[in-house]
Symmetry: C2
Subunit: 321 residues, 2 copies
C-alpha cells in the first residue's frame, strides 16, 4: 500500500534524527518501542507551534522544524534530563515538498545534535500547526524541579533575555534597528538554543529550575510559587544582548523581563555553588548570570541600582493577546 501520507513520511521523516540503540521499533508500526535504562525515570513533555499564534504566516520552514523541537528540548533541559525520542504531529494545509524538505532539515539537524531519534508521528491535512512530544530519561530522583528553591539561594539565568520577543517585533515591522542587530534578534527567535548540556550539568547544583517561554518575570513567578518563596532581582544584572540594548536603550530591561520565547533556563542554587556554576557555564558554552536572590514571602521585588521599580507584565498568554 502506497499512499501519500505514507510516501511523505518515508521520504522526509523515516531516517530523520539520530540513530539510537535503545529504539527497538521506530516509525512504521502502530507505536514505537523503546528501552528506558534501568535506574532511570522517564521524562515526558509536549509543546506546540501554531501559525498565527507562535509564528507568523510564512515563517521559514527550516526555523519551524528547529523551533518545534527546540521548545521541547528546553523543557527536557529544565528537568536536567537527557533527551531521547521524539514524536511529531504535523498538520499541513497541503504537502509542499520544498517546505517539507526545509522543515525536516531544521528538525533533523537539531535532533542529531542532541542525539534524539524521531520514532513516530502523524501527518494530517489541517491549518498549519506542529506538535512535538519529547521523551527523555533522568537518573531516579535526580530531576530538577520547580519546587526545590530555598530562601537564601541565588537566582540565575542562562544566555540573554528578550531577544526573541524583539526579533518578533522586528519581523512585524515595529522595531527600528541596524540590519545586523535586527538579523541577530530574528535569529534568536527563529533558532532558539535549548540549554541541554547546562541542564544536565545543573543536576546536583540547582535547587530548582524552569525554562523561560513566557518571559523571565512570568516564569520566575511560577518557580517561586512552586517553591513557596519570593525573589529580589537586580535589574542591572539582567543579561541583555548588545542588539537588544541598541534597539531599546534604557527600556531594554523591560524586554528582558517580559519578552517570551527565550528558551533560556532560570534556576536557583546555594550561593556556595556559584563558582561551580561558573565553570559549568564555561564548559557548556552557555553564559550564566546571577540576577538576584530568594527571600521569604511571595512575589518578585525588582531593583535598579537599589531603587525599587514597578512592573506589571501580563506574561505571554495565548488566550489574552
Amino acid at each position: 500500500m502506497v499512499d501519500s501520507e505514507t510516501e511523505l513520511i518515508e521520504r522526509y521523516f523515516r531516517e530523520l534524527g539520530a540513530a539510537r540503540a535503545d529504539v527497538v521499533l521506530g516509525i512504521g508500526d502502530d507505536a514505537a518501542l523503546l528501552r528506558v535504562p534501568e535506574g532511570n525515570e522517564l521524562v515526558l513533555t509536549t509543546d506546540a507551534l501554531i501559525e498565527g499564534v507562535h509564528f507568523l504566516s510564512g515563517a521559514p520552514a527550516r526555523s519551524l522544524g528547529h523551533r518545534a523541537l527546540a521548545v521541547n528540548l528546553s523543557d527536557i533541559a529544565a528537568m536536567g534530563a537527557s533527551p531521547c525520542w521524539a514524536l511529531l504531529a504535523l498538520n499541513l494545509p497541503k504537502p509542499e515538498e520544498a517546505w517539507l524538505q526545509e522543515f525536516a532539515s531544521g528538525f533533523g539537524e537539531l535532533a542529531r545534535t542532541h542525539g534524539v531519534a524521531l520514532v513516530g508521528g502523524n501527518l494530517s491535512r489541517g491549518p498549519l500547526s506542529i506538535t512535538v512530544q519529547l521523551a527523555g530519561v533522568v537518573p531516579r530522583g535526580e530531576a530538577l524541579r520547580r519546587d526545590g528553591a530555598q530562601v537564601g539561594d541565588a537566582l540565575f539565568v542562562s544566555g540573554t533575555l528578550g531577544d526573541a520577543a524583539a526579533g518578533l517585533r522586528r519581523l512585524q515591522g515595529g522595531l527600528l534597528t541596524t540590519p545586523a542587530a535586527g538579523s541577530y534578534l530574528e535569529q534568536r527567535l527563529e533558532y532558539p538554543t535549548p540549554r541541554v548540556a547546562l541542564g544536565l550539568g545543573l543536576r546536583g547544583l540547582a535547587s530548582a529550575c524552569i525554562d523561560l517561554s513566557d518571559g523571565l518575570y512570568a516564569d520566575a513567578l511560577r518557580l517561586l510559587h512552586s517553591s513557596g518563596c519570593a525573589a529580589s532581582i537586580e535589574l542591572e544584572h539582567l543579561p541583555l544582548s548588545a542588539p537588544l540594548l541598541e534597539a531599546y536603550g534604557d527600556a531594554a530591561w523591560r524586554e528582558g523581563l517580559a519578552g517570551g520565547e527565550d528558551y533560556e533556563l532560570c534556576f536557583s542554587a546555594p550561593p556556595a555553588y556559584a563558582a561551580a556554576i561558573g565553570r559549568l557555564a564555561q564548559r557548556t558554552g552557555a553564559a550564566v548570570s546571577r540576577i538576584g536572590r530568594l527571600e521569604a514571602g511571595e512575589g518578585i521585588e525588582l531593583k535598579l541600582h537599589n531603587t525599587v521599580m514597578q512592573f506589571a507584565p501580563s506574561g505571554f498568554d495565548h488566550f489574552r493577546h
Copy 2:
C-alpha cells in the same frame, strides 16, 4: 502567577484521568516524571483530530475528548501494551468553559476506564485540533507488531466494520436510515471502543496486529506488506452490524472494507489458536471474526461465496480527500 491558560488547566485537566503510583511528577512542571517498570519496554504513539478533517465542525465536545484518547488507546492496544500516561495538546479558537467541561468529561471517563493518567500537555489558541500522545508499557520482546504474520495464519478482526464511516455519512446528510440505526452508526463514529483488553490478551497468540483507522483493506495491506505475505479474505465473513446492513444492503461489504475510523484490531494467528482466541473474545467482550487466511505473495484477494471480487479503494488519506 495566575493566568488564563494555567487557570483552565487547573480547573479542567489537573485531576483528569486515573491516579497512578508510577507518576512521580504530573502536570505543573516543565515535564512529567514517570517510572517504567523493570523488564518492560516503553510504547509511544501520537494521533491528532483536526476540525474539518477528522470531525465535522460542531461535533460534540464530549465525543472529541473520548475520540482523541480512544484513537491513541487503539494504537497501544494494537501493540498488546498497557496504556499508562497521556499528554494532551489542545488548540482552541477560544476557551469556552462549557465546551472544556464536556471535552474533559469525555476524555477523563475513558482515561479512568483504562487506568490512564493525564500527566501533561499544552493549551493554545488556534484552529480547533487535539493531539494526544500516549505512553504505555509492554514486557520486553512481547509487543505485537505488524511484521510477524506467517503464510498459513488465519486473519481475524474484532467488532464490526464500516459503522463509523456510515455514521459520518449520516451526519453529513447522505445516508437514509431509521433513527435507531442512524443513532447507532453515529455513536460508533463518536465513541469508538479501543480494544485494549483484547490486545493484551493477544500477546502470545497473534503473530501480527494492526489497528483499523483507514479501513480494513488499506490497513490489512499495511500488515501484509510489513510481513511480506498476501491474504485471501472471504467477504461473507466480514462482521457487519445490522444497522450497516439496513443502511447499505448488499453493498454493505464495501463499507466494511473501505470505511475508516473503525478502531478495531486486525490480526493474524496460527489456525490452531482459533479456539483460544474465541475464549479471549468472550472474556474481553470484543467479538472476533475469522475473515480469511494468509498466503504467499502480496496483496489481498477478495472472494464472495467463492467468486473473486474486484475492489479499488483508496483508503482514507487526509491529503487525497
